[in-house]
Point group: C2
């Protein structure tokens, strides 16, 4: 059985989750959306608790699912950039709503433990 079934519940939302689900994908897509284009190491630094292996694995999956584009400058030392492609860009409305919902619904926690400014 495939872990993130494309058809679970005969529901089109399952397909969306099958390409963008999991712990990291939405987050990475959002980072790429906000920064337009990012290098591998830049992404890594922006996601403190992702591991090397995880990041390259997830980037590879996103590429296979045709959501991002990989630009290899074929130089030494290597320089590789990632950006959303057209299909990836079509997810932006979802990303923006998710971010907006997060901002609005964290209010309670912010009131508890103080400063959580400068969130993107």
């Amino acid at each position: 059985m495939k872990k993130w079934s494309v058809d679970e519940g005969n529901c089109s939302i399952s397909y969306t989750l099958s390409v963008a689900g999991g712990r990291w994908k939405w987050l990475i897509l959002y980072k790429l959306f906000k920064n337009k284009v990012m290098r591998y190491g830049e992404l890594k630094r922006n996601l403190p608790s992702i591991t090397h292996k995880m990041l390259s694995q997830v980037l590879s999956e996103l590429r296979n699912d045709e959501l991002i584009e990989r630009i290899d400058y074929a130089q030494v030392p290597p320089k590789v950039e990632y950006r959303l492609n057209e299909r990836g860009n079509s997810l932006i409305p979802i990303l923006e709503l998710m971010a907006q919902w997060g901002r609005e619904n964290r209010l309670s926690e912010i009131l508890e433990n103080g400063s959580n400014d400068n969130l993107v």
Copy 2:
């Protein structure tokens, strides 16, 4: 380390994912949105590959995160219903976009293997 960090990347989208992330939550929220109110067994039947334990665990988490409401009719045999509460309803725009994106972007696969009608 908490698995779905609320703050990963200092990004408000992380909070959204911390309450609605994972393999099942968006899907369950979507089912509740479409059907307004569902019994436990009804949900179970609608999600073929979720296990008994998983479903009750996830429902419990959604309840703890104040996204759904549990109505116990306190009768024998038991009858329990679930529905989105107000906070849960505020996720509907996201759910609708996800479903829409899924419908539109599955086209390629549909063209390959034929009939995929009647998807919600």
